[in-house]
């Protein structure tokens, strides 16, 4: 399926609007799902299901959200993500404010990094034609 980024962004915003019951005009690519749009854990499940249906894809564990890193004792200690863990996460997630997060890298705060733009970037890569 060939879809350009603008098209993907539009669909993602519609999905998030439906899942979180927020107006599309209030959703920016820089919006944090948790901090700005009020997403809870059930909402992440809802969004993943809707994305899979809308784009006709499967989103395997660890691909969109880096659960494996957050449960790896090399990268998490006493509820905090280690410097090695942050480096690992940087390789998986682009566009996050790592400098700010590194000041207080609690696992509990990690979800706040997730923005609408990250979902768009993930889908753009996943849906890109294989050369």
């Amino acid at each position: 399926m060939n879809q350009d980024k603008n098209e993907i962004t539009k669909i993602v915003k519609t999905i998030i609007s439906q899942a979180l019951k927020v107006e599309e005009k209030d959703i920016q690519t820089s919006s944090s799902l948790i901090k700005d749009l009020g997403a809870e854990s059930i909402d992440f499940l809802d969004i993943v299901f809707r994305l899979e249906k809308a784009f006709k894809i499967k989103i395997p564990k660890g691909e969109l959200f880096p659960e494996k890193i957050l449960t790896d004792t090399r990268f998490v200690k006493d509820g905090r993500i280690t410097p090695a863990g942050i480096e690992e996460l940087k390789g998986k997630i682009s566009g996050a404010n790592w400098e700010e997060f590194s000041k207080n890298p609690l696992v509990a705060n990690f979800g706040e990094l997730f923005t609408v733009g990250m979902i768009v970037d993930y889908l753009s890569q996943k849906l890109a034609p294989v050369s």
Binding site: I34, E40, S41, I42, F44, L45, D46, V48, F49, R50, K61, G62, F65, P66, E67, L70, T71, T73, V76, G79, L106, V107, A108, N109, F110, G111
Partner: protein
């Protein structure tokens, strides 16, 4: 927090029943992606409506996460916390994978009204 020589942790979460209803209506055919067979049986059981059961499970799992001080774990984190058994009033969960508490058990009790389900979790090493 230590009680009687054991370390215990607490977690509380609240789920809006209307939200669980919307989720169930939209995704009930996908529940087996994220819930175990035992949990699917609990949702479709006779103790309460599927929506109330789903709300209880969602609130309970989030409360277990909080009791475990794991914070946000993403959608697949739900699968790693599994219902082990139930008593008349409580559900017992076990952590399938965890940094420091593999196979730890958690007891979850509930308070419910027309709008919300509140889950209170105590984890005991």
């Amino acid at each position: 927090m230590a009680i009687g020589g054991l370390n215990s942790s607490l977690g509380v979460d609240l789920v809006e029943i209307q939200k669980a209803k919307s989720f169930y209506k939209t995704h009930k055919h996908r529940l087996d992606s994220f819930f175990s067979p035992k949990e699917i049986n609990f949702i479709s059981g006779d103790d309460q409506s599927p929506i109330e059961s789903l709300a209880m499970l969602l609130a309970a799992k989030e409360a277990v996460f909080k009791a475990n001080n794991r914070g946000w774990m993403g959608p697949w984190g739900f699968k790693s916390i599994r219902m082990a058994s139930k008593t008349k009033k409580n559900l017992i969960f076990e952590s399938q994978t965890d940094l420091s508490s593999k196979n730890r058990l958690f007891q979850v009790s509930f308070i419910q009204d027309k709008e919300y389900v509140v889950a209170k979790c105590v984890g005991i090493c």
